[in-house]
Symmetry: D2
Subunit: 357 residues, 4 copies
């Protein structure tokens, strides 16, 4: 890998959906990134030509990075987003799923590397759905995908925000002891629904016990992520997950109450050890330690534990015996950092570091 | 039963722990009750002799009932609470569990009927732990208990607030199809912890994934409630429950995400039918329909469904297949009405109506 | 006045904007009303012909009244809303201000009595802007207005939700001691912005220090309400008001911090006495006592005091000297009951009782 | 001043009240401070001898700094806190005001420099009450104070959290145009009441319109801060302030709605210019720009603007004409950083940099 810390020229990247919640998070997190510099920002036709700082309804607590504030927004209109207009090699996509499918495909065909947080292509046979600490081997699907597009471009996706927290917390257990059954109840933050998203009249002092489409994603995406790469295909993992999803009046942070059953029985120390041993790797957004098990039984909590390792770690706690399955515990992750924009950036970093880009 | 609607003299009742959250709810709910009139209010030694309205930190939205506002508070000191001082036949106990055990026992020995919301005596062999729609037959333990105390007094208890919601939602299913396994995640309101209870700095925009002692109660109390009365003993039901309890920033209303497995397999309509058929009975606090199944998959919600039948009904919703156990759904109940003071009053009404008093 | 409590036929009323937040509140509050029965419900063209219970996103905690649940929604399209289609004599309008102006005028011309909560016609010279405890004499503008429309129809309006609370709290002081200057800071509930209204991402754990158009209304509407009816015109009152408006994470209830200066100096007892003496009148929605002064300096609070007199009273508290103006205090009112739908219903009741209808 | 950025030995400091909310904030903020290193931590007798990380109920989102985590807590018992036991030259005091008065005085007598956030000594004639951007000249009171104690020790205080925000926002206006009258309504965060502080049952979805003692502080402390140092005395400023204080369900950040009247009339640009010109100075905790005026009329907001300049700046917005006084606007500051621990640290930095220490 080139030494990007001293490199003269960073990789130019673009942000698709730059005015939305995920787009804003991309812009905020990529500030001063050692590998990447934002060269293009794009949104829907109605934003075209406007100065970013004057047009965006900025919702991040940190100010708009100065180099982006003055940029003109380009249109995500497929015709407009040709290589002639974009300077970027990599496009981070925070596009709404209503339009992400078509735009991302077009961009891949046109030779761009699309690092997407949208759900549209996640389950495609030749699209990697990757959490790099778990299944970086799936990036080898890229080769196959390039053939499909007949270009140097490709699409790489990260999972749903709840899935990332769940999969990271479960993977070390799955790998060592073989998961059979998982029942999870989620308590998901409002930021997961984007902006304006959830009406305050629906959630202030309230619980909404349903999030459309969410349970399906939680029950299927991990099977692909935990799957084995066999002969240029992913063989899905053979475990069963049942999810019950709730929206709660929390700003950031998805909290998961998880029960699980394993093939090989494990004791408490062995499970915690498996978490401690999950390997991270050496890129800017990678946490030093991926999973932090907290001994205090009142933890993890969004207010206290969300920003562990800048929001890129998952915290777990309160591991105890389950009367029905084997064990139960709480897991917490930052849904817009580890669960969305940060996940995509981590994927991009991995690809750069491992010469996919 | 005497016709209390026209009766000249109501039954005199006392409130133990009258300044606490549950005590206040008793006083609020008993206003204009057709069977009962409050004649005694008692609290800890430090409140003795004080005028209720001047001393209490009243937290109910309705004003203090006029007849109680001017009453003098008596001491719950056991010596003081002799029959000489109390005018009441029935004592509703909202005492803190630190002192409830001893005081309630003393009162029963002294001949009072103690209707308690405290946990101390719930699991005693000869103390009824009753939700009258489920196990009113357990009231026959009273006879045995009177022998123990050698008095006409006795103690009757209602379950923990989360247990009441869970047990009501599960009982019709258990009775018809035989429950084997239940996994439940609770999202519990702050009012369940009393006043001042949970610090705002711990819960505003946060989730606390642990409530001391709560999971144990949820995993054991239903086994007694669903138990069979056999030869003056309760034979505990043979099902397994696993609970994960969370405190959420909701004022009133415990929301439960429940998965369950039955002996006899049931379809969706049969389960809903079983809920619809749970019998209520004809007393002032009894809901007309005990369980309301809501078709809208975004329901039940605390903000919208909590006061169904004045807070005495349980609402359920979003019944759907579970990948691991058989079915999953959401249940909601009002923790301080159906789950506490209202539950105790319902027990007392049942006892009056069925000539136990 | 006819004796409506025993009357065989109630007055038929219609609800314009029946699917919105104010419309829902009208429907909820008018359940079993002794004077009125809902005969028509109307909304935008896209709702036309749909069954109410199947179409509305009902947000009230009480269920949809049975007689309305099955009704078909009519269109508020002006052509459709001719007298041929509507059975009602009175139309309660909870229309969005974008369309209220034109529709309400058309209906008045067509002979309907429009009782409106919308802001569009409030400041019109011949339209009464009335809080009946304050300025019922302004209803005499109706005569003049009928001439304008050349019909038996007319429009009557109630003030903005914050204005109602402010005006009720200030009027007794103004009448007795003559207000010169008023500075008010509002802390307004999210329900004041309708549904979906305020995004949860904007208000959870936050304060928004600006509500478009609100300060202007608070600074002008009271001048009309406190005005004298002179020769068929309202002579605006001569006081100055300065308002600073904030949105806060409270569901219902506008809290106002008010400082004021009077012509004639008053002491604390005299001010409280003036509040106690504000007259209510004898109709179903009229509070027995309009203003409740609470002695506890931590009151009034939305959680504890909002439903005083079913939400139709204003509560005040913490009256104390101001270093700059004369006195300062807190006032609280229920913004969707006393401040909106309930205010309109009270106006309609007054008109019925006083033979305007 | 010595060059502390390269200095071999930092100044040893101690934290009085190390387990409380302010004490925790001191410890959190002082991590890696270029001037100071924590050498002593002290709390009440009951904490004596315990390991900090095992004993404290840590409420900061950042982990306990490693060098403090393992420290033994000393007792704040006055006898124990003699110079023999403490290694520190400076003591940062986050003591509860119930005990702060006596302990701080004793420490000053014993020769320590006490930088206190407590209210006890703020209004003492010879104790500086300082916001260094405003009245660093008041530090000259130290000389007089040393005489009183007959030691090298002294006490320096920072104002109440709301006062700091108010005083910073008003001072540039006062200096240029002469303030006569100020009316302020505060909306104060729960963290201002410490931990456990405000019960969640009192504030979730609620407003509490009274904070004991707060209005008095806001109405008097600024008069000392804006005062002139004349012949070793502070001559209080001659302006009038009236405050109405409210607790709101916001975690951090006091929002103030302020109206003011000046001697010399100013236009909008002049006022904003005065804010822009308030000088900061060159120490680690000093913001680059003290007051940030935000053009967007929906700002400042706690969620978006609180951490401006790491929480050490004050943000203002929505400056507009007031109908009664001259102008009105919103101000926001971080109550536990700029308003408490950060304010004390800034005072200490100023003293070091200017050779008082």
């Amino acid at each position: 890998m080139p030494d990007y810390s001293n490199m003269n020229r960073k990789i130019k990247v673009g942000i698709l959906g730059c005015t939305g919640a995920v787009g804003q998070k991309f812009i905020s997190l990529l500030k001063d990134h050692p590998y990447f510099e934002i060269s293009d920002i794009a949104a829907s036709e109605s934003s075209k030509g406007k100065i970013y700082s004057e047009h965006v309804n900025w919702k991040e607590a940190e100010a708009i990075p100065e180099d982006v504030a003055g940029m003109k927004i380009k249109s995500c209109n497929i015709e407009d987003l040709s290589s002639r207009i974009l300077f970027s090699r990599i496009l981070f996509s925070g596009l709404d799923s209503k339009v992400a499918g078509e735009i991302e495909e077009k961009m891949a065909r046109a030779g761009f590397i699309v690092i997407s947080n949208s759900r549209n292509h996640r389950m495609n046979e030749d699209v990697p759905l990757v959490i790099p600490e778990i299944n970086s081997s799936h990036f080898d699907l890229i080769k196959k995908q390039k053939t499909r597009w007949d270009s140097d471009g490709f699409i790489v996706t990260n999972p749903n925000c709840s899935v990332i927290v769940l999969a990271l917390a479960l993977y070390p257990i799955h790998k060592k002891f073989g998961l059979k059954n998982v029942i999870v109840t989620t308590m998901q933050a409002i930021s997961g629904a984007g902006y304006p998203g959830v009406s305050s009249m629906d959630i202030l002092g309230n619980i909404i016990p349903h999030i459309p489409g969410e349970e399906e994603k939680i029950e299927t995406e991990p099977l692909k992520i935990f799957g084995e790469f066999e002969q240029d295909k992913i063989k899905f993992a053979d475990l069963k997950i049942s999810a019950m999803c709730n929206r709660v009046p929390v700003y950031n942070g998805h909290t998961l109450a998880i029960s699980f059953e394993t093939e090989v029985k494990a004791n408490k120390d062995e499970i915690i050890k498996s978490w401690n041993e999950l390997k991270s790797f050496d890129t800017p957004f990678s946490p030093q330690k991926v999973i932090h098990y907290l001994e205090n039984e009142f933890r993890p909590q969004p207010l206290l534990d969300l920003i562990t390792e800048n929001g890129m770690a998952v915290t777990t706690g309160n591991l105890r015996k389950c009367n029905i399955l084997d064990w139960k515990f709480t897991a917490l992750g930052h849904n817009t950092i580890r669960g969305a924009a940060g996940a995509a950036i981590l994927n991009a970093e991995y690809l750069v570091k491992n010469n996919f880009i």
